[in-house]
């Protein structure tokens, strides 16, 4: 037998062995955040109308107040309060990720303030995002959506999905990540406000004149280039 036909010691004996020895490939970034966010977009919690309306309106009123309080907590120079705020936000592990599916794996490690946004800033946004997701879960109901309202809601969802896709990019600079989280929270405020208003109108008005009243508000904003 010629030398070239002899089995090389390291050669696999057949294609099955050769293919089995190949390492498994993985996507550049985990696809779970995108899947979770698509699941969120589909999620429709069906609460009793009067209860959901009351709860959603109450939470929408509370969230801006809490944001104001958080802003005050995050003032530079008040490190003891910032730490307390961070711990409070961290006390609910996965609070943001369980609902949004975005945050957990992407949470940046704490760094000092000179290196970019502080952990407290991220924690504040994670916490607010989780609260707004909870509002949204209660406020939304397809039973009360007219065609144009549902289309608008889908647009807002698509905008949120695009932010989540941007957030799932690996090696995103901290400043850019923070700006995207800020956009995400703003978008969630719009979605939650829209869903709550729709609930309220449905509960108080017999006919919801969405078709006549909606003048396509400017919700489809581009994701800002934050560099």
């Amino acid at each position: 037998m010629p030398d070239s036909h002899q089995q090389h010691p390291s050669s696999p004996s057949n294609w099955t062995d050769a293919f089995a020895a190949l390492p498994l490939d993985a996507p550049e970034a985990s696809g779970w955040p995108a899947i979770a966010s698509r699941l969120d977009a589909r999620r429709r919690v069906r609460w009793p109308l009067w209860l959901a309306t009351a709860a959603a309106l109450a939470l929408v009123a509370v969230v801006p107040l809490q944001r104001l309080a958080n802003d005050r907590i995050a003032r530079p120079g008040d490190s003891a309060i910032v730490d307390a705020g961070s711990r409070a936000a961290s006390a609910e592990p996965g609070a943001a990720s369980a609902d949004t599916g975005v945050a957990t794996a992407d949470r940046p490690a704490p760094t000092d303030a000179a290196n970019g946004p502080s952990r407290a800033e991220f924690e504040r946004l994670y916490a607010e995002s989780a609260q707004l997701e909870a509002v949204l879960a209660m406020a939304r109901d397809d039973r009360v959506a007219s065609g144009p309202a549902a289309a608008l809601s889908d647009e807002l969802d698509a905008y949120l999905t695009s932010i989540d896709a941007a957030l799932s990019q690996p090696a995103l600079p901290r400043s850019q990540r923070l700006a995207l989280w800020d956009q995400r929270v703003d978008a969630l405020r719009q979605v939650a406000g829209f869903a709550s208003t729709q609930r309220w109108l449905t509960a108080t008005v017999t006919t919801v004149p969405w078709s006549a009243s909606i003048d396509a508000p400017p919700i489809h904003q581009p994701i800002h280039d934050v560099d």
Binding site: N14, W15, L22, D25, P27, S30, W32
Partner: protein, 202 residues
């Protein structure tokens, strides 16, 4: 950490035994259970999709579509006849990847019958077959359908009849692409052998 791979005659990277308790939680809509299933099968699905589609972006899309279908249909999985969950999930992944090939009209990418491939199948595989990077490049250079047949047969253990059904072709097509694909892969891994074989045939 995923449990150990189940023993199989042709080991598949999908062969992961998923506990019944986890499946029950997933059927109940438990988001954490879905995420666990996703984490275990992310790499096998992505690798399979990459081998069939040949493109990382498309493989990511197949991964996402597969997992969403699994989540949507997990209530339909009953494990009838002792069939494992991983086999059911793999079937969805293969269908998604092949559907994408068909949609992109790339299922016609195959080695033509009159294409001369001279490598000798009786010889052992070239040493380069042990080099993962070289073998992956050679696989990527094959036409999509040929590569799919090779991967489904050798790596996943499908029969020619099963491949024919999946690809909506005949078993003869699967057999001929397997033989021609194997020879083409040899020549890509060992171009010198091709020249020698060509001279023998001349």
């Amino acid at each position: 950490m995923p449990p150990e791979a189940a023993p199989a005659q042709r080991p598949s990277s999908f062969a992961i035994d998923v506990p019944d308790t986890l499946l029950a939680r997933a059927r109940g809509g438990d988001r954490a259970a879905f995420e666990q299933v996703y984490r275990w099968f992310e790499r096998p699905v992505f690798t399979l999709a990459l081998r069939i589609c040949g493109d990382r972006e498309e493989a990511s899309d197949v991964l996402q579509d597969t997992m969403l279908k699994v989540i949507d249909r997990i209530g339909d999985f009953r494990g009838a006849g002792g069939s494992p969950f991983w086999g059911w999930l793999r079937q969805i992944a293969v269908n998604e990847a092949l559907m994408r090939l068909r949609r992109d009209r790339r299922q016609g990418d195959e080695i033509a019958v009159d294409d001369q491939v001279f490598a000798d199948e009786r010889t052992p595989l070239p040493p380069a077959a042990a080099d993962a990077a070289v073998l992956q490049r050679a696989l990527a250079a094959l036409p999509a359908s040929t590569r799919s047949v090779l991967w489904l047969y050798h790596a996943e253990g499908y029969t020619h009849e099963e491949i024919a059904a999946l690809m909506q072709r005949t078993a003869s097509f699967s057999k001929s692409q397997l033989a021609r694909g194997g020879r083409r892969l040899r020549t890509l891994l060992d171009p010198a052998a091709e020249t020698a074989a060509e001279h023998t045939h001349a």
